[in-house]
């Protein structure tokens, strides 16, 4: 069973998404804080990360986490999906077009709210080459 970590300070949203992914057959863990996250990821080695962007003390924390993951040898290949409301709150127009191996090293960027079927399809596609369900 593929393991996914959801990182989002919106507890309700994260729990709701977690239930949906569990129903789809994934092993899901939810983290609501950034502190100690990289150590957790190293320890737990999830197959995929779903990351929020904005956190209370850092409006672009998701970008920072993605970069930090890519710098750690043992976890740098974990696929990451950014799932964010940054564009609604800041009109910043971030999109999948901005993905860049150096600057924004993630596999996908989706805006909240996302259709569950669409997200599940993306997750499945990202996990396909390495994980057999």
């Amino acid at each position: 069973m593929a393991r996914i970590i959801i990182v989002d300070d919106d507890v309700e949203f994260a729990e709701d998404l977690s239930k949906s992914l569990q129903q789809a057959g994934y092993d899901v863990e939810v983290k609501n804080r950034i502190e100690g996250l990289i150590e957790d990821i190293v320890l737990n080695r999830p197959d995929l990360l779903i990351l929020d962007v904005m956190f209370p003390d850092n409006p672009v924390a998701g970008f920072d986490v993605a970069r930090a993951v890519r710098l750690k040898e043992e976890i740098k290949s974990i696929p990451i999906i950014l799932l964010t409301a940054v564009n609604q709150e800041h009109s910043m127009d971030f999109s999948a077009r901005d993905i860049d191996p150096e600057w924004l090293p993630v596999q996908d960027l989706e805006e909240k709210p996302v259709a569950k079927a669409k997200l599940l399809k993306k997750i499945s596609k990202l996990l396909q080459p390495t994980v057999k369900k």
């Binding site: 672009v60 910043m92 127009d93 600057w103």
Partner: protein, 368 residues
């Protein structure tokens, strides 16, 4: 005190934005601090907000916020001139005028109740309201008030304008007891005071105050800027109360922009000038003596994603508009800044200016 015994001060002006509200706030606050009980009414309002379904004049909301008066808001703002009001009046003058008069008189009775002083704030110059038979002079006469006229600094023009306004009040048998000259260039304060005293004395008027120009009262907040140019806020919502002391148009190289950016400046720059925006943000972050008020991105253009990310790490308010830089700059040049109820710094400044520069003891005596 009972109605009819309280002092009644009508604060008029020679034109809009001369400083009526500044003087009203200052006078109310000063006498309140001298243990006088004060009331307020703005009989006719033109700029209003909706509160609990009622149209309330903006200045009334401000006065109530500052002075916390014991009077229903609607009685401090009985008549709001809404859209189409003038046409409605002209269609039925005989019906509308008595209704307005009754409304003002009934509200005044409530606003005046148990007070030593009622300040009545006018609207625009003495003649405003003539189109519906209730100009400032007529209202002052109706409420048996004495008048102080606020005018702008200078020597020739204020005297000319006061003469015109005084004539209208005199025509209604209303006594003008004095003048407050506002927004006088600080370096000319003493000279202006001396000559205005002489000039008004020739017209039987006392110069009750000469208030120096205080630029801080005219500084808009970034929030007011955003509303004036219908901007979208990209960043820094928590800092929209930043004051704008200066406007810098970023039509230069990045290193030259650094030369022009001053403390509390608002940078207006086309949205594709990441270089200038980054130079401004760095200046804000690294120079302790400079805090940028905000940035306006024009032309409906968006910064590069990398620049947007860096901007999000700052508290700098960033606004975006579709209009070109010239149009945004022109609009902001002409912006009229009214003191709003959330702006404590300006309220403090306005009240302290009146306390310091208006002869409140003499005014109190003249109101007897």
């Amino acid at each position: 005190m009972l109605n009819g015994i309280e002092k009644r001060l009508f604060i008029a002006a020679t034109s809009q934005n001369d400083g009526k509200t500044t003087c009203t706030l200052g006078v109310l606050d000063a006498y309140r601090n001298l243990s006088k009980s004060v009331g307020f009414i703005k009989p006719v309002g033109q700029r209003y907000v909706l509160i609990d379904g009622q149209t309330i004049d903006e200045d009334t909301v401000l006065v109530q916020q500052v002075c916390d008066l014991r009077c229903p808001l609607k009685d401090m703002s009985p008549v709001a001139i809404e859209r189409n009001f003038t046409r409605q009046f002209l269609d039925d003058p005989a019906g509308v005028t008595p209704r307005l008069r009754h409304s003002i008189e009934a509200s005044f009775a409530i606003a005046a109740q148990n007070n030593d002083l009622v300040v009545i704030e006018g609207t625009g110059h003495a003649g405003v309201g003539s189109v519906f038979d209730l100009n400032n002079a007529r209202v002052a006469q109706m409420l048996k008030a004495k008048v102080v006229i606020v005018t702008l600094g200078g020597i020739g023009r204020p005297v000319d304008e006061i003469a015109l306004n005084q004539t209208l009040f005199e025509k209604e048998n209303v006594e003008v007891i004095g003048v407050i000259a506002n927004k006088i260039q600080p370096e000319k304060l003493e000279q202006t005071r001396e000559y205005l005293t002489k000039a008004f004395a020739r017209r039987g008027l006392k110069l009750l105050g000469a208030i120096p120009y205080s630029p801080k009262l005219t500084w808009p907040t970034v929030d007011q800027v955003a509303k004036a140019i219908h901007a979208t806020v990209l960043n820094g919502r928590q800092c929209l109360s930043n004051k704008v002391a200066d406007i810098v148009v970023g039509a230069m190289t990045a290193h030259n922009a650094i030369k022009f950016i001053k403390n509390q400046a608002l940078l207006i720059v086309p949205g594709d000038r990441d270089d200038v925006v980054l130079a401004a943000a760095i200046t804000d972050l690294l120079r302790k003596d400079i805090q940028l008020s905000g940035i306006v991105l024009t032309g409906g253009m968006q910064l590069a994603a990398q620049t947007r990310e860096l901007i999000m790490r700052t508290h700098i308010p960033v606004l975006v508009v579709d209009m070109p830089t010239y149009e945004a700059t022109s609009l902001l040049h002409d912006i009229t800044v009214k003191i709003c109820e959330t702006d404590e710094e300006k309220i403090q400044l306005a009240t302290s200016l009146v306390r310091q520069y208006v002869e409140l003891d003499l005014l109190w005596t003249l109101l007897s």
